[in-house]
Amino acid sequence: MRRVNKDERSRVRFTLNGRAVSGDAESRMLLTDFLRHVIGATGTHVGCEHGVCGCCTVLIDGTAVRGCLTLAVQAEGRAVTTVESLASPDGTLNALQLAFQQHHALQCGFCTPGILMSFTDYLARNPHPTEDEIREVLSGHLCRCTGYAGIVAAVLAASGGTPNPESRSRT
């Protein structure tokens, strides 16, 4: 039985983007704060901190989840993947990131790390989604700059799809 008492700081270990990391965390420390403040991996952003905005989305064992609704201690022994893993070490963007750049899928970029991680999981399960499927996944994120059209276009381009002229959300 694993136990971390409320005033205790306990060593937490997991792999981050394929590399073993560890640090001390209180039981109440959120995974987002552990990544940013203990490990120093600041690619994952924190928006609403109650699971609504999706900025903090990371992969745990390949599955996209809210980092702010996960305790650091819950990630113990897991494989955590964040936006830092997407580009090559020399800075070359991956196909999804390039599509975001080409289709103006971001302006301020604050929400982008979470959106990229959601679609990293989703496209691995469904490599050729329809526009409506993309919009359904995107509904788990808030973006205040783009109006979403560029993001939908980018994901469609990255997955070889074509826009749906019937989509009711198209402006």
Binding site: R2, K6, S27, E49, G54, R66, L69, V137, S139, G140
Partner: protein
């Protein structure tokens, strides 16, 4: 915000989890997916002194057909049930309702039983369980008991679970009909439903109708409805009977109006399904 301090415990078995609940009772909360609980803790609406994390318990991570029911363990996520290959054949109502539960990202972690435990009156999974007449399986050191969904959910975020009990599974009766429909109205996809309607046609025009978001818990009725005009009358009366309630998402009046408009559409959709 950040949660208040708490003792975190991750038991290695259901027996250990139940022993911890017997020890801490009311002071403890059970953490599975955390998609409601962690949000409430971050907002300091929930402040448990002890958090018992059952998410890794393999004994609870199972979907199985047990007799005439599908039993879903307490660690099974909503997306895992949604992607279960037998879902459309055995539980067509759940196949229709699960896409409305939260978002792809929250369904990846949120559990089926967690939604039952949270008992939000507008939630899709408690509404489906009540409409189908399912059961909740509770275990404590005192033994195991089963409660019908209607007896389990007592009111707004309130259930009949005793402080020393752990929800180990929920049981959805296998459906013999494919004639089902589910719809809800929310401000945006995945948000809290202002009104949700589930319809399962049993035979001919006899149906079970479940309504969420109108009262402090799901309302389930059996009715025989012949066509859309009949459905309009039914939902007119039901809207006034349930009254609805005011909150940040919708007024009682809007809820009544939505039920009157959406209800007949859902009945019509279910009646159109091939048997």
């Amino acid at each position: 915000m950040k949660p208040r301090k708490f003792d975190y415990v991750r038991p290695d078995s259901v027996d250990e989890a139940v022993a911890l609940l017997a020890e801490y009772g009311d002071a403890a909360s059970v953490l599975a997916g955390g998609q409601s609980l962690m949000a409430m803790m971050n907002l300091r609406i929930a402040e448990p002194a002890v958090l018992i994390d059952i998410a890794r318990l393999e004994e609870l991570d199972d979907i199985k057909v047990a007799g005439d029911a599908v039993e879903v363990g307490a660690a099974v996520t909503q997306n895992r049930l949604k992607e279960w290959p037998e879902l459309a054949a055995k539980l067509p109502l759940l196949a229709a309702a699960l896409p409305f539960v939260g978002h792809f990202q929250t369904r990846n972690k949120g559990t089926v039983c967690g939604s039952i435990a949270h008992a939000d009156p507008s939630s899709e999974i408690p509404l489906s369980l009540a409409t189908l007449g399912g059961e909740v399986v509770l275990r404590s050191r005192r033994g195991t008991r089963m409660l019908a969904a209607q007896d389990f959910q007592r009111g707004m975020l309130t259930t009949a679970r005793e402080p020393d009990e752990l929800i180990v599974a929920v049981r959805f009766p296998v459906q013999s009909t494919r004639r089902v429909a589910f719809r809800e109205v929310a401000r945006r996809h995945g948000d809290f439903a202002m009104v949700a309607v589930a319809v399962c046609i049993e035979n001919d025009n006899a149906m079970r109708i479940g309504v969420g978001g109108m009262a402090d818990r799901p309302a389930v009725r059996r009715a025989t409805i012949d066509g859309v005009a009949d459905a309009r009358g039914f939902f007119d009366s039901l809207a006034w009977e349930l009254e609805g309630y005011d909150d940040t998402h919708a007024s009682a009046r809007l809820r009544r109006d939505l039920l009157r408009r959406v209800g007949p559409l859902v009945v019509e959709e279910a009646l159109r399904c091939a048997a």
